[in-house]
Each structure stands twice: as structure tokens, then as C-alpha cells.
């Protein structure tokens, strides 16, 4: 079983003479097979937190440990995969060419067998709909070799049918990865997550009951029917 631990993450941006603190002291842990949802308001630092875990953003302080080993840039050892909000795939590639590039011929067949993928194999990435693209991104990330993956807004701009498909995909988690995901479409996050965190005022708060989301002002009061 793989374990990921993030601790003492501190990030701030200087805005002329003013220092704006984004993350003050975050702690998070995740193990194989677990899906962790991270919620938070716009600009609270969710994407920055994911970039820090991935290793592409260096904050003032961070402590990331994977399987007991301290890693400053986990992506270099292919320990963490990351899908940001916008597409990272080359638009001029067809889906088939992309899958061949990422997985080689040996592993290609198992991915091609997904019904949703079969029908878009010859389509260029730039011609895919928002839902198809997000589905492809999540699917490829689930099949790559990273033990942990970070998904930034996988449900954003996606039609309800594809949202459900992505949920099913995440729950199937074929390689038993540890998954961290965030989205403003919080209902989807609540559906798939085993554990939930709320990023508020730079601190990650563990949410044990949905009503806490109302208490912290993330959702309007009465959302969860009390």
C-alpha cells in the first residue's frame, strides 16, 4: 500500500508591499485506493496546493512524504500525476496517437476497449467535446503508473451524462491509486469521495459531516436539508 503525506505547506504571494498568505499550514494524507475530495472557494489555493504536491510549484515551506520518503518534486519519480483545469494534451494528436504515445502498443488495447474511447479513437484532441476530453484525461491518468493522482476540476464544464461516467470511472479505480480531486461542482465530489477536506483561510479542515460545509459558509445554509 502506498501512502502520501503532505504537511507544513506554507505559500504566500507578495503583492507590492503586502504579503498575501494563501496556504498557512496544511496537512493531508492519502493511501492507495482512497479518493479524497478537496473543496474550497475560488482563489482559496486548491490548485496551488495540487501544484505543490505535484512538485511544479515551490512554496516557502512544504513537507511531502511518499511511502516514508521525503520528495520535493514527486513528478520526477512518477509518483504523482496531475491533470490541471485546462487540457494538457496536444490538440493536433488523434486520441489513438495520444494513447500510443502514452502507453505504447502493449497497453493500448486495454484502454481502447472502453466504449467511450472506441468511438473517438480517430478524432483529434482539439475536436473533442469538453466531456469527452475530461473523460479521456481522467481515464489516461487512471491507467498511467503514478500511485497517486491529482485531478483539478474533472467535472467542470461537463454535461451530466459524462459527469456520471467520470464518477463511475473514478470509483472503478482500476489500479487502486490514491486520488485527490477538487471541483466547484461539489455534489460530484461528495458522491465519489471517501474523505472530504475544506480549504478555508489557508488551512485544510477535515469535514466529517456535510452540514459542516454550511457551518463554514461553503454552501448556503439549508443545502443539506436541516
Amino acid at each position: 500500500m502506498n501512502t502520501l503525506e503532505i504537511d507544513s505547506v506554507r505559500l504566500s504571494f507578495s503583492n507590492f508591499s503586502r504579503e498575501q498568505r494563501i496556504l498557512t499550514d496544511c496537512y493531508l494524507n492519502c493511501v492507495s485506493g482512497e479518493i479524497i475530495g478537496v473543496l474550497g472557494r475560488n482563489g482559496c489555493g486548491k490548485s496551488s496546493l495540487f501544484k505543490i504536491i505535484f512538485g511544479s510549484l515551490n512554496p516557502a515551506n512544504k513537507f511531502i512524504r511518499i511511502n516514508g520518503e521525503v520528495c520535493s518534486q514527486p513528478f520526477k519519480k512518477k509518483l504523482v500525476g496531475y491533470i490541471p483545469q485546462v487540457s494538457i494534451f496536444p490538440g493536433d494528436f488523434t486520441v489513438n496517437k495520444l494513447l500510443k504515445f502514452l502507453f505504447g502498443k502493449e497497453r493500448l488495447e486495454s484502454i481502447k476497449s472502453y466504449e467511450r474511447i472506441e468511438s473517438i479513437l480517430k478524432t483529434k484532441i482539439r475536436k473533442l467535446s469538453g466531456g469527452e476530453l475530461k473523460y479521456l484525461e481522467v481515464l489516461t491518468m487512471l491507467h498511467m503508473n503514478h500511485p497517486f493522482i491529482l485531478l483539478d476540476e474533472p467535472f467542470s464544464g461537463v454535461e451530466p451524462i459524462y459527469q456520471k461516467e467520470i464518477q463511475v470511472l473514478l470509483k472503478s479505480n482500476p489500479q487502486n491509486k490514491g486520488i485527490l480531486l477538487t471541483d466547484h461542482n461539489y455534489r460530484n465530489i461528495l458522491e465519489v469521495s471517501d474523505r472530504l477536506y475544506l480549504l478555508r483561510e489557508g488551512v485544510l479542515k477535515h469535514v466529517t459531516d456535510f452540514s459542516e460545509l454550511e457551518l463554514y459558509g461553503y454552501v448556503p445554509s439549508g443545502t443539506f436539508g436541516k
Binding site: 505535484f54 512538485g55 511544479s56 518534486q73 513528478f75 520526477k76 519519480k77 512518477k78 500525476g81 496531475y82 491533470i83 490541471p84 485546462v86 487540457s87 494538457i88 494534451f89 496536444p90 504515445f101 502514452l102 491518468m141 498511467m144 503514478h146
Partner: protein, 96 residues
Amino acid sequence: MKVCLHFYKRIFVANFMLALLFSLLSLPDLLSMFKAFAISLPTFAYGLTIYFFDRFKYQYYLFNNLGYSKKNLILFGLLVNVILSTLLFVIIILTK
């Protein structure tokens, strides 16, 4: 290697065109033009290409997910360009 080559392929056309543009400054002397092309390929043209590629920062995430950092990729591209540039200079000297 395959991943690094893919990165180089993505930047090559822009890099080549910019080097060609720099070399046109030495027209009509053909030899000077070749020299300018060979010099600018790993220097000004490459620097500008990387600058423009950087504008689409998200493209690096694909390579990062495959275990390659931006620094590694830029160094690889520079190495290939230096090799190409050296070969061009060898050809220029041999054909003199």
C-alpha cells in the same frame, strides 16, 4: 528519450522558422546566411521559441506527468540544437 524527442518535435518548426528569419538578415551572402542560421538555431531563435512555448505553460504538464521537468526538456532541446549547429558549421567548412 521518446518523450524528449516529442518535445523537440513540438518546438522544431518554430525554432527553424525563427532561425531562418535571423539568417535572412545576412542576405544576399549565402555563406553568411548559413552561418547566421547555425548561430541563431541554438541561441536567439531557441530562446524565443522557448519563450513562446512558455506562454502555453500547461503543455509542460504532459511532460511532467511522464517524469520530465521543464529544465530537462530545455537542456535536451539545446543539446540537439548545438549538435545540429555544429554539423552545419562542419558542412560550411568542408564546402568552403
